[in-house]
Subunit: 467 residues, 4 copies
C-alpha cells in the first residue's frame, strides 16, 4: 500500500488481462513492443523520487499516507491551481484516473438514493488512492442506431446493460468505446453514457472492476506503429497511448463495487461528473499545445527569413490570439471556480465548456495558419537517416541553410515537429482528438445552454429594447 | 472649481466654438436639434446627486476635492476594477476624457527628456480634473498617401505639424480625423498619430487647448438624423455622439500647454499611451453588447417558438461562446493588470489587444448568427406609428401573435432593437466601430507581436522539437 | 392593352388601394413623398422607347403583341441567358412580376388535379402580360408559433386561410409578411407558404387579386426616410422599395382567380415554384454587387496609397474570389439549365441554391474585408453640405488629399458609397437581405439535400472504401 | 519508340539513377519494397490495352504515331474537356509529365529571344512524347533566406545556378525541393523558381536531363512506410508517390537540352507556364475528393442513424456546397478556356486560381465538418486483423451494428477511409498538399490580382458612386 514505483507499476500489469492489438492476443503487455512507449508514458507519473516531483505529484491523505495528487479532492482555489499545474505534467493515464475524485463529487447525491452505493464509491476511491492505481473512464457505449433508445436497439446489448442480478452482484454485457488507456490501468470505472429514461433501467449502471476481471476483453488501437524515431517523430515517438474497445462479455461485478444499478434518475449526474474534468484536461493540453504552435510558427517563419512578411505576421498573430484566448479562459475557469454542496471545488463549468468549444471549433483553422507558414517542406523533408548518411546528408546540410545562425539540423527538427503534430499520423489523430475528446461540439453547446445565465441576458436585452 | 452640474456643463458649451454640421455653422450647439441627444448623453455623466452615482462616478483627490472618477489614476487592482465598473456606466464623452489620466502614465518618461513638458501634463491633468472638464482624444491625422512619411506628402500639412515657434508658444496646422465627441468637450488633447523619424521633427507634437481656441474648426458627423423615435430606434434614439473632423488652421498653443514639440523619440509613447485605454473601453462595450446580443437572439428565437430548433440553438450557443470569451478575457486583463514604473495600474496589454482583436475579427460573423435567427421581420416590421394607428395597429396586434404570453408589442420591441443595433444606420455604423475603434485589426496584431512572450514560446517549441 | 408608358403605370396606381406608412393612411401614393423614389424605380422598367431598351425589355407574344420580357417563358438556354441579362437591368418590382411566369411552370401539374385552376393560371398570366401589369409574390405567412402547424395556432388566422366558400368564390383571411413592392403592383399573387398536411385544407390556397380589392390593406416599411441626398447616399437615394405587411381582412376572391383551394397535395409545388427564381434574382444581384465591392475595395485602397500593402491586397483578393465564385456559379446555373416536362427552361436548381448559399453565408465576412480596408472615414466623413459650404469645404478639399490624381470629392464619393452600401441604413438592411431574401440559409440547405446526387457520391465513397 | 508497356516502363527505371530513401542508397528501385506501390501507381498510366483506356489515354500525333494523351496540346474546348477527363484517370506521375506540353506554350516567346532554345523545347517534347517518357517538374529552389535574392545568399548555390559555361554545354549546381515523383520519371525538367532580376543571370536557367545523369541525386520522402494494409488504409495503400529532394552536384547539360541560360527576361514566363496546369490538376483532384467527402459524410451519418439530425444535415450541406462550388468552377474554367497566340487552349487562368484558392482556403474547415460527423470511432476503431481474429472479431461484428442493413465491415471500411484520408499519415499529408501544391494561398492571390478585370470593377464602382 502507498505509492508505487514505476517498476511496481509495470509488474502490476502482468495480471492476465485479455488484450488484443492488430489481431494478436497479447499475454504480457509489459514485454510487447507495441506497449513499450505507452507503458513508458504511464510510468513517468510514478516518478516520485525527486523532491520537486514528489511535491507536485503527491499529497498527504487524511489518513496520513502519501498518494498521487490526482486523487486529491480540491477544497480551495489553491488546490485547484495546484491540480491544474499537476495536469500540465501528468500523462493521460494519470489524468483519467481522476475518475474516482470526480465520482466523489456525486457521492452525496447518490447517498440520498442509496447510501450503500455512496459507501462503495468512497471505499473504491480510497482503495485506488491508497494503492496508487490507475483507472480508466469507461463511458461511451456502442450506441447502434442513434435514433433509438438503449432498449429499442436491434441488439439490446448495444448499450452496456445488466443481464442478471444475484445476491452476490450483477452480471453486465456490452461494449464501451474510445476507452483511453484501458490496457494500461488497473481498474475500469464504468458509467452510463447518458441520462436514462424510466424504461431503460438495465442501462443505468455504474461500477468499478479490475481490468483482469473474467469476461473483460480490450481491443487496442493507436495512431502509431510500435517504434518511431525521435528525430523524425519528436512528439509521437514519446506520446502514444492506445484507445480501447472494451468488451464486457457477461462480466460479474460484486455488489461492493457497484455504484448504480437501475436508479435511472441518477444516470445523468454520473455521466456529467466526468465531462467537466475531461474538458478541463483537454483545455490544459490546448493551452500547452497552442503556445507550442505559436513558437513553431514563429520559428519556421524566422528560419525562412520571412519574419517581416505581413501575411506571415498575420498568421502568427492569429495563433497568438488563439493561444492567449485559451490561456485566459483557463485562468478564468480556475479563478472563478465553483463549489459543490459538499465543498469540492471544480473549475467554472460554463468557462470550461466555452473555452473547450473555442479550442475545438477553431483548431482546424489554426492548423491552416501553421500549414500556410510551413510550406511544402513540412511534408517533403527527407528523413533523419538521410541526414546521417554521409553522401546524402552533406546535401541536406548545404541546402537547408537559410538565415545566419540556424543549423540545417534545427530546421529539420522544427519541420519534423510541425509535421508530426499537424500533418502525419499523430497530427491527423490530433485533429479528431481536439474536436471529439471530452465530447464533441454539440456536447459543449448543450452545456453552454444549461449553464449560461440566460435570464440575465434576456432581461438586459428586454430593458434595452424598452420592453 | 469642483464637480459641475449637468446644467453647468451645458452652459459651458456656449463658448464660441466653431462647429459645422451638414453644411451649417452652428453658433450655439446647446439649442440645436442635432445636438439634443449628444448633449443629453454627455450630461448623464454629470449626474452626481444620487449617492450611489456619486460613489460610482466621483472620488476624492489628493487635494481633498471631489472629481470625476475618470480622472482617478488606478494604483491597485481594486482601483482598476472600480474603473471598469465605471466604464460600464459612462458615456463615450466621459470615457475619452480619461486621456489626461493616460498622459500621466507617460509623464515620467517625458520628464527625462524635458521636465517642463511633464509639469505641463501634470498641470493640465489637475486643471481638467478639478474643473470637471471633458477632453477629446485628438490623434488620427489625415495621412494623405500612406506610402509616404509625414514630410514627404504633397501637402506638408497632411499630418498636423508645427509651422512656427515663438517665445510664447507654437503655431500648428493640420487636421485630425475621427475625433469622437470633439464638439462636446472642453479641451482637445492632441497627440502624434504614430512614432516619428528623425526628419519628422515638426510632426512630433502634443498639447491641449480649449475647443474654442481661435483657428479650431470642427466638422461633425454621426450616423443619425436629429431625432429618432425611441420605439422604432430603442438604442440609437439615445446614443448618438458626433465624430469630429477637427481642423487646426494656424492655431497658437502657449508653451504651458505643450507636452511635446519636436522630440521625435517620444512620439510613439504618446501615441501608444491611449490605445490601451481606448481598447479597454471598446472591450467593456463589447462585453456589454455581446450579452445583449445573446439575450436578443434567445428572445427572438423563443418568440417564434423555435427554441428547440437545433440550428437556432447552435447559433445562440455561438453567441454565448462569443460573449463569454469576451467576458473572461476582460476579467483576465484586469486581474493580471500591469504596473508602470511610477506605480500606475493598467489592464494587461496583451490581454486587451487579444480580446479586442477577437471581438473585432468575429463581430461580422456573430451578426450573421443574429440575422439568421431574426429572419426577414428584422427589416420589414412596420413602424410604431402604424402600430398606434387604430386601423393598421389592430392587424399588427393580431398577426404578430406567436407563442403564449408574448405581446405583439414586445415582439416589435425586440425586432426593433435587433434592427437598430445590427441592420440600420446605427447598426451599420457599429460594424465599422467594432472593427476600427481603438485601431483596426492590424494595430492589435502589432501589439500582440510586441507583447507576447515569444521567447518562451520558441523555447518550448524547440524543446519539444528536441533542438 | 399592350405595353404601358411610365405615365400610364403611375396613373394606374391611383385606384383606391389601402396603404399605410408610418401611421398615415395614404390615399394617393403617386403624390406622396415617401413613394417618390419607389415609383421612380418601378417606372424605369416601363422605359421601352429606346430601341435597345425595347429589345432588352420586351418580346413578341404568341399572339403577336409586345409584352415585357419578364413574362417570357424561357424555352431555350438562349432565352434563359436573355432573361438573366434582363434581370441585371430590371427593378425588383419588375422581377417579382415574374411570378406568373413561374406559376406557368406548375400549370401542368395543377391541371391533373383541377383543369379549371390551370386555366385560371393561364388566363391570369395572359391578362397580366397583355396589360403590362406588375404583381407581387405574396407568400410568407405570419406563422405564429413555429412549433405548431397552421391549424394548431392559438389564432387560426396566423396562416392565411379560406374562411368561407360560396358559389362565386372564396373568402380569405390572414396576413402575409415581407411582401416586396406590394404597394407598387397591380396584382397580389398569393401562394401557400409551405407544403400543407391533410388537416390543413383551408390553408392550401392560391389566387391572384388586384391590390385595390376590398379588404386588402398594406402596411409599408423600408429602410429609408423619404428623401436622401444622392452625394451622401449614392445608392439608397435611388433604390428604395417598400416591403408590405399585407392584410387580407375577409377578402373575396372569385373562382376564376383561384389557383388552389384545399388540394393540399399541391401546396408545396406552388411554394417551391417561386423560390428558384427568387434565388436566381438574388444571385444576379449578388454578382452585380460583388463586383462593385471589389472595385470599391481597390479604389479605397489605392486612394490611401495602400495598394502595395500585402494585408490590403489579401483582403481585395478575398473579395475577388467571392465575386468570381459567384459569377462562375451563375454562369454554370444557366449553362446547365434544366427543362420541365412542359418544356420550360429554368436555371440549374442545385447550382442556384449552392451559389445563393455561398453568397449569403459569406456576405458578413466579406463586408468585414471591406470595412477593414475602408477604415474609420467610412463612418466619420462629413456630409456633402459641409463640402459645399465654402468655409468648411476648403478644409475637406485640403485634408482629403492623398495620392496624386485623386480629388477629395472622388474620395468622398467612394467612402459614401461604401458607407451607404455596408454601414448605414441601406447597408444594414442589405446584410439581412443577403441572408434572408429568397429564404434563409436553411431553406437552401434543404434544397441542396433534395437535389444533390447523393447516391452517386455514396457509391463513389463506398468504392473508394473498398466496400 | 512509341507507347511503352508497363513492363517496359519498369525496366526503363533500372538505369543507374542515384536514389536515397531513409538513409539507404537504393541501386534498383524496381525491386525495393518502398517503391512497390509508387511504381504500381505510375505503371497504371501505361495500361493502353483496353480499347476504352487506349482512347482515353492516347492520341495520334501529327506524325501518325500514338502517344500518351498527356502530351496532346489542346487546340479546342473539346480537347481541353478530354484532357480534364484524362486527368481524373491519371496518376500524378502522368500528370507532371504534362510539363513538356506546358513548355510548348512558351516556345514562341522563347523563339523571339533565342530560336535555338525554342527548337530544343520542340525536340525534347517530341523525344519525350514519342518515347512515352515521364518527366518531373523541377522548380522550387532551396531559397535560403527569403529576404535576400538568389545571388545575395550566404551560399550562392541556394538557388540552382550555372557554375560554368563551355562550348558543349553548361554545368549547374543547386537543389530543387518538393519534386513529385522525381525517382519515377525519366527526365527532370528544370525551371527557374521565379522571375529573375538583371543581376541574377546565372539563375535564369531551364533544361531537361535524364534522371540518371551524372551528379543528379534524389533523396526521397513520402507519408508512407513501405506497405499498408488496404482494409485499414483503403486510400494510402494504393496511392503513395515519393517527393524528391533533388540535388544537382555540378551536372553537365549539353546545349541541345538547354531552354534558357541567362536570359533573365524569360525566367518568369517559364515559372508561370506550369502553375496553371498544376493548379488545374489540383482542382480536378479537389472535385474528385470533395464528392467522396460528401459521400463519406452522408454514409457515416446514416450509419449512425443520425441522418435526420439537423446539425448533421447542416454539416453535410456545407460539404455539398464545397463540392459543387468546386465542380462548377472547374466546369467554368474549361468552358471559358483561353487561347495563346500560338493557338494552344488552356483553362481560364482567373477561374483556376480562384477555384484552387477556394479549395485550399476552406479545406481545413471542411475537414472539421467531416470530423464532427465522424466522431471518435474515426480514430479508435480497431484494425482489420482484430476483425479477422475470431475471438476479438465476434465482438466487433456485434457491437458495430447500428441501423438495419449495414454490416459492421462496411462501417469499418467507411471509418477507415475517413481516417486514412483525413486523420492519419496520408490525411495529415493531404492537409498540406491541399494548401501548398501548385503554390500556396499567396501565389493564387497574386494571380487573381494579375488576371482580374480590375479596371471594369473600378469603373462600375465609380459609376455607382456617382464619380
Amino acid at each position: 500500500m502507498g505509492l508505487k514505483t514505476a517498476e511496481q507499476y509495470v509488474a502490476s500489469l502482468r495480471d492476465g488481462r485479455v488484450t488484443y492489438w492488430d489481431g494478436e492476443r497479447i499475454d504480457d503487455i509489459t514485454t510487447h513492443p507495441r506497449f513499450r512507449v505507452p507503458i513508458a508514458v504511464a510510468s513517468r507519473d510514478y516518478a516520485y523520487d525527486d523532491p520537486k516531483a514528489a511535491e507536485l505529484r503527491s499529497f498527504t491523505t487524511e489518513d496520513g499516507g502519501r498518494a498521487h495528487r490526482i486523487y486529491q479532492i480540491p477544497r480551495s482555489e489553491a488546490d485547484l491551481a495546484q491540480r491544474v499545474e499537476l495536469m500540465y505534467h501528468t500523462s493521460i493515464v494519470g489524468l483519467v484516473s481522476g475518475v474516482y475524485m470526480a465520482l466523489m463529487s456525486v457521492k452525496d447525491a447518490v447517498a440520498k438514493v442509496n447510501p450503500q452505493y455512496a459507501a462503495n464509491i468512497e471505499a473504491m476511491y480510497r482503495h485506488a488512492r491508497d494503492n496508487d492505481l490507475r483507472a480508466a473512464e469507461v463511458i461511451t457505449d456502442a450506441k447502434g442506431d442513434r435514433k433509438r433508445k438503449a432498449h429499442e436497439q436491434d441488439d439490446p446489448d448495444l448499450y452496456l446493460r445488466i443481464v442478471k442480478r444475484t445476491d452476490e452482484g450483477i452480471v453486465v454485457r456490452g461494449a464501451k468505446l474510445h476507452i483511453t488507456a484501458a490496457s494500461l490501468c488497473h481498474e475500469l470505472v464504468v458509467m452510463p453514457t447518458k441520462g436514462m429514461r424510466q424504461d431503460e433501467t438495465d442501462y443505468a449502471v455504474s461500477f468499478s472492476i479490475p481490468v483482469n476481471t473474467k469476461g473483460v476483453k480490450i481491443i487496442n488501437r493507436s495512431f502509431a506503429p510500435a517504434e518511431l524515431n525521435e528525430f523524425d517523430y519528436p512528439a509521437s515517438a514519446h506520446h502514444s497511448i492506445p484507445e480501447g474497445f472494451v468488451v464486457f462479455d457477461d462480466v460479474f461485478v460484486p455488489w461492493n463495487r457497484v455504484f448504480l444499478a437501475g436508479e435511472v434518475q441518477l444516470a445523468s449526474i454520473f455521466a456529467q461528473s466526468l465531462g467537466l474534468w475531461e474538458r478541463t484536461g483537454g483545455l490544459v493540453e490546448a493551452v500547452r499545445m497552442a503556445e507550442i504552435f505559436v513558437g513553431l510558427a514563429q520559428l519556421v517563419t524566422e528560419q525562412q527569413g520571412k519574419d517581416r512578411d505581413p501575411i506571415a505576421q498575420n498568421s502568427v498573430a492569429e495563433l497568438i490570439s488563439y493561444a492567449e484566448m485559451l490561456r485566459m479562459s483557463l485562468d478564468y475557469a480556475c479563478r472563478h471556480c465553483e463549489r459543490t454542496p459538499s465543498g469540492m471545488i471544480h473549475p467554472n463549468v460554463l468557462a470550461v465548456n466555452v473555452a473547450k468549444y473555442y479550442y475545438a471549433a477553431n483548431y482546424h483553422q489554426m492548423m491552416r495558419y501553421v500549414h500556410d507558414l510551413g510550406g511544402g517542406l513540412v511534408i517533403t523533408l527527407p528523413l533523419e537517416a538521410d541526414f546521417r548518411n554521409e553522401e546524402s546528408g552533406q546535401y541536406l546540410r548545404k541546402y537547408l541553410r537559410s538565415v545566419p545562425g540556424v543549423e540545417a539540423e534545427t530546421r529539420m527538427r522544427v519541420y519534423n515537429l510541425i509535421r508530426d503534430l499537424t500533418a502525419d499520423a499523430y497530427g491527423g489523430w490530433q485533429f479528431v482528438v481536439a474536436l471529439q475528446a471530452g465530447g464533441g461540439l454539440n456536447a459543449q453547446r448543450i452545456m453552454m445552454h444549461r449553464t449560461y445565465n440566460m435570464a440575465a441576458a434576456k432581461a438586459k436585452a428586454l430593458a434595452a429594447a424598452g420592453a
